[in-house]
Symmetry: D2
Subunit: 461 residues, 4 copies
Amino acid sequence: MPMTGEDYRESLQDGRVIYYDGKRIDDVTIHPKTRSMVDIVASTYDSEDQERREGRFSLPRSVEELRLKMDDFIQWDDLLAASILGFLTLRTVSHRMADDMQIYRQRMADWNKHCKDDNIRLTICLTDAKGDRAVRPSRQADPDSYLRVVDQTPDGIVINGAKLHATGAAISHELLVFPTKRMSSEESQWAVACAVPVNSPGLTILNAVPGPHHEEFENHPFSRHHIYPEGFAVFDHVFVPNERVFLNGEVEHSATFPHSLGLWQRIGGSAKMAEEADMLVGLAHLLAEENGLGRIPHIKDKLAEMILHATMVRAALEAAISNAEFTDEGYATPSELYTNAAKYYGSTNLSRMLNHIHDIAGGSVLTVPLSGDLDNPEIAPYLEKYMSTKPEGNGAYRTKLMQSARDITASGYAGTWQVRVLLGGGGLYAQKLVASHHYDVNRAKALALEATGLGAFNGTS
Amino acid sequence: MPMTGEDYRESLQDGRVIYYDGKRIDDVTIHPKTRSMVDIVASTYDSEDQERREGRFSLPRSVEELRLKMDDFIQWDDLLAASILGFLTLRTVSHRMADDMQIYRQRMADWNKHCKDDNIRLTICLTDAKGDRAVRPSRQADPDSYLRVVDQTPDGIVINGAKLHATGAAISHELLVFPTKRMSSEESQWAVACAVPVNSPGLTILNAVPGPHHEEFENHPFSRHHIYPEGFAVFDHVFVPNERVFLNGEVEHSATFPHSLGLWQRIGGSAKMAEEADMLVGLAHLLAEENGLGRIPHIKDKLAEMILHATMVRAALEAAISNAEFTDEGYATPSELYTNAAKYYGSTNLSRMLNHIHDIAGGSVLTVPLSGDLDNPEIAPYLEKYMSTKPEGNGAYRTKLMQSARDITASGYAGTWQVRVLLGGGGLYAQKLVASHHYDVNRAKALALEATGLGAFNGTS
Amino acid sequence: MPMTGEDYRESLQDGRVIYYDGKRIDDVTIHPKTRSMVDIVASTYDSEDQERREGRFSLPRSVEELRLKMDDFIQWDDLLAASILGFLTLRTVSHRMADDMQIYRQRMADWNKHCKDDNIRLTICLTDAKGDRAVRPSRQADPDSYLRVVDQTPDGIVINGAKLHATGAAISHELLVFPTKRMSSEESQWAVACAVPVNSPGLTILNAVPGPHHEEFENHPFSRHHIYPEGFAVFDHVFVPNERVFLNGEVEHSATFPHSLGLWQRIGGSAKMAEEADMLVGLAHLLAEENGLGRIPHIKDKLAEMILHATMVRAALEAAISNAEFTDEGYATPSELYTNAAKYYGSTNLSRMLNHIHDIAGGSVLTVPLSGDLDNPEIAPYLEKYMSTKPEGNGAYRTKLMQSARDITASGYAGTWQVRVLLGGGGLYAQKLVASHHYDVNRAKALALEATGLGAFNGTS
Amino acid sequence: MPMTGEDYRESLQDGRVIYYDGKRIDDVTIHPKTRSMVDIVASTYDSEDQERREGRFSLPRSVEELRLKMDDFIQWDDLLAASILGFLTLRTVSHRMADDMQIYRQRMADWNKHCKDDNIRLTICLTDAKGDRAVRPSRQADPDSYLRVVDQTPDGIVINGAKLHATGAAISHELLVFPTKRMSSEESQWAVACAVPVNSPGLTILNAVPGPHHEEFENHPFSRHHIYPEGFAVFDHVFVPNERVFLNGEVEHSATFPHSLGLWQRIGGSAKMAEEADMLVGLAHLLAEENGLGRIPHIKDKLAEMILHATMVRAALEAAISNAEFTDEGYATPSELYTNAAKYYGSTNLSRMLNHIHDIAGGSVLTVPLSGDLDNPEIAPYLEKYMSTKPEGNGAYRTKLMQSARDITASGYAGTWQVRVLLGGGGLYAQKLVASHHYDVNRAKALALEATGLGAFNGTS
């Protein structure tokens, strides 16, 4: 029988060690900092359709299936998206691993079956503490700066380290731990991948919760649905049984994990970015209309710029999908070149789009009163009277629209959003590198040589 | 005897009608949403030096005095800055008014003396509800869409309307009410300026408080000092005695108020922007150093871009000061051209600078754990261990620095800041207009005609 | 028998009235300002393959055929591209015209057959003189400000006016004259479309030739192949026989011509822009390599930015093709939304890409000596010695590369290119308008309403 | 008796070895590629005023004198500006040299007197061939890759090498040769500075001439006055007598020359850039007016952006002057910080400003007919008729204005200008470095530490 929302709640009351601001959270399903997201995730269990659930776990085999996968992606909440990402990543890793890694491939297959059958939620743990950025993992003053195997038993491994950006860990079932980058031959103890149940002894999760304070949910109609606890996961001699260990010392496969993840993460991020850009265009138009500014030239100009931005993000997403590459096994993966370009372009311009919304909304995006004011019959008429811009009276509606615009574009959520978009998948610098790597420089040089008449391109890059 | 912090607190317990989220705040000095700012303002009363206090109220008479005034500006909290702005604005208005306005000039002088002697705090109220943006004040469906005189007695006037962006009104002594723009000859009832004590019957102030929630102050080391309540001030048949009325129907002077205010507001804003840009440069350097990234080329490049940004904002501020214009009475006022250019340039690029800080800080700017975690001796060692990037151990310090960076650049404060910087003084479009108006287009045309050899410029613009 | 290069030359010696800098050009095949382009066009006649020639004249019926058409496009010289554009435009116009325009549709079909059979070259004439921009065609002080029918005979019409941007007119066979925009009902005399042989009596073509001076061809290895004379075509009582008249007064179809043209023109322009962006990436890499700068961080950063630029232009082109729209007759036309976004994005950033090349090339892109110096055995060794950056000696090669870079990025050609890219198809403002018109604003609003929880979108835009 | 224009012409007929495109120029005063600039320089000799001439050679001693010096700068032609730059640079070098360099200081003083008394024109030679960019001067495969002393006699030195960007060398009197950068202790033979008459045996100057071809001067009303030959100066065993040698092996002073030059070059460049930005604003307004577009919103927006650009460049120039630093001897030198910021900002945005002009001008900026057409009475009426946009007839004037706009913004001159502005004084990267070096990072950090409450700044950078 599939897990229900109630099952999900119960499954989180498992002894996990969760902290918020220095205090232990005994039960994440009732603590004010986590319960709202537990409610949202629980509701996804209750509402989901069996057939669609099955569909999630398939790898696309055509451009069309890849496009549908992206459509699904933007419907999922972040925790479900991460879970499917983890699932797809392990399948991709398995395809990329050599045959002599058969034992890991079997374990991954088994564990993936568990994920699917039990419909669990995962958090992917990639980024290590890293210590001194100029020093390799094996040379750090503290060897735990990168997560590593500190002991080994016949039944499993013991790991130490910290993973810094574990979004939603406090309300997940398992952590999927990957090496953060390629390890060199002398770094086998850092070449470790595994799945770790959140209530494993020795695992402690500290949390930052960047959404609105729970007492202020009413005034955050959008962001209150997007307050995943950001986990700082500390592994202090955590034992992982063999069947959950997917890499243990084979350094040549250490980079396979982050690379496979990156592929799905960036295309998923781009799909979301395209959808969000369209949403912002819509928000800007609603604001312009309620403000009665739709015909002011500089407002029209900003609306058009936002449309062009959204269109360019979507164009790159479209190109990434329609130029999909196919693996030997026949699976469609998005074009790295276009995916990274989409990510770079979209994240470079998001702040400017938010500024456009501020300019279109005007100062009320900051100063508009609160939802409780609309509920108080003594003062609500003031808002209706003074927030109206149309003879038929749109004061209450415009008040709510401004509250939403504040919540989406000028709140802590907006800051969080911009950081995520900028740094998710590795920062602008990483996208530049990857895009450059996948661009056909030789074809470009051949075009230039033809233009200059300096002779045919000699084929070296 | 000058007002003390304690006097200030008492003065706020005066029956004022203040709402937050639909509920009446009985005492702003103890309510969790307002008390922290009351504490900060009270502290400015206790710490201030008599001589400096006197100095605030002088208009500068030289470039050097103007420069010193700007230095003062950036030291003041926003409520004190607004109070002095209001004072200086009324003095400028008085200079600009014709002699037949002698009665208003006298009232302003008297009231200014009261401000200075009693050292009160003011909130300037400019922006009206405005109703339909395409329709003049006198043609609105609701005539109160712009604040106006609805009745007149021998002793004073009765006003109706709303002022939408009254920052700090809930904790000020008086509101200084100005017309929002030039009124035409048939709009005399909307040509009204006056000072209104906050506890006047009929005055209701709704509040939005864009800072962090009071339970989370510890995790907002910067922004907890900057959470002025944003007031939405409703005037419902408020009586204003004659001695506080500074304009009543003389439409030809309606624009004198916003123009005089704009002058001081924009230069003050530019001075603050220059200082803030320098602060961001400093923050970026601290982060780069603690992250050990100071020598990475793309980080150095971002640091240099931030320096160039800060330098250009300051250059425009410097040019605005050193090209001061002098009034007939010999007072130095900043160059409108350079002031508006500073404002435009600075606000256009702020978001990009914040993005640079995110890129330099990395993902921990979002996910770094909280201050309570540092206080818990069981888990603090994890932070010291895993947040350190240097052999000597900088984990706790780096944790705090990241918390500050999150608070300054990715919190609700950051959103509020960007909106303020963008829209304060009227939006980018307004700065473009004013700068264009003050630029010497004829000199430019003469240069172009000389370059093209098309003959001397004929002097018409 | 198909036309040969020699036939083409002869066909231009037909009495046409061509001026350059105030002097009549008697024979465009030998005049120094036109002969080089005549040679290039003639060579396209000699080299062309019969089968490919047939293929040009087909309208694409699938995404794949549309893609192939774009591939062809970027191979053609501008005059051939314009000829095919004119052909495709008339076919599109014909599809869009109502059945009662059967007579025009037949004439267009006949004339198109002539174009195809005789393989002639066309120049499309769109932009009128326009006179006072604030006044409609019918209200101009000079009614000829927009080209119009001034007389009518049983056999044809007589037209007056000027078409200002007739690229290549001096070396074309016929001018294809279109109305520049929608005409209103009282403007039937301005609703005229027709084909006009270049040697028609009354037709005078003034020329600007923006390429390098013919004595300096050797130093312009790229641009000497791209110096189409820009024609300013004056129609002074030119008679056009009925069989060449494609619109004469039916104002409701006046806009069909420019709209149909715009569709093909912008997608062709975008295809070319994508290819040129790749060429610039190649040129930048060649320069970085010869300068030995390929590993300098700020150079790598500029190369990566150029790659991202080229990738985004191509992404938008790809999206325009893969999201083709189909006419009722089953012909594939590129997506207007993505086409206009490509055009806007590409042209906005071209100058910046050229600046990147300058920064990568260094000062020699301006000061490198000339090709004659390389030919002079006394001084060539100096260039080999001092332009070399590699032990094996790359001085002569690097000299030539710098000469090409100067020619492509810092010459009159570069200026011409930037203007064309910016203004071809109507300027950035036009692209903003068209893109906004084709973007699905309602879907965007629905997304925003869902995000804000403000209820379902009510369907009005 | 001061040199006259005629004297100047004669002085150039001195046996100098000048090449253009592989051919020797026997007499630069009559060769078509050089005579026009000779004429212009000669005219500056004839027109100049004795008193102003004296004034040029003074170093400023106050902010006010520095401002006047900048005003002079923008009046001078480039050759005169370079001459004065060279003069001022040597004086600055002399101040910075230690006392034990007395012999060089005396030689510089003597030679400076000769420059002043004989009123000669100089070309500054800085940039060497450089060979492999990754290798130091002393390790180059070809030791002449940086200019060096190859022999020494009792009377002087013999030098070998090439200087690549010697603007105007062909029509100057002497070359002022500086080391291009700091030399290390083993690089004494490359630490050489001297003055070399252009007709010295062994000196060969190859030329690129980036202006319009001389047959097309009439159509280049602006750029025909700005076609300085770009010299590629080859020193092949050139003897320099001792009295013209200003450095010979003292490596510790090698960087003093380029640094002193850079100071004056960048402020001069910024002054010119500010003036040119104003000129472009003027040109844009003239075009908007003649096109009748002055009230179109997107045109007004572009005009305002151009004004803001020009204002920001000038603000930085103003700040550089008003924040002048004073040498020990009491001479005013511009602020390096603001000067470099001006240079960076101005050159980053020039291309965009030219694009704005193209958008305002419209396609005629490319296609407008030529000056000869206006002179031909048969076709000139066509231009008057069809280029007019006003009832009173502005066709001929608008034709000329478009020709000028084409010449200034879309010609080879425009390309040359953009390269100069970008790379003059070392490229954007160099400005970033220098500005960062002169910015007070410690003050910025102190501000950030105060904002974060993380304690006082400890004073280390």
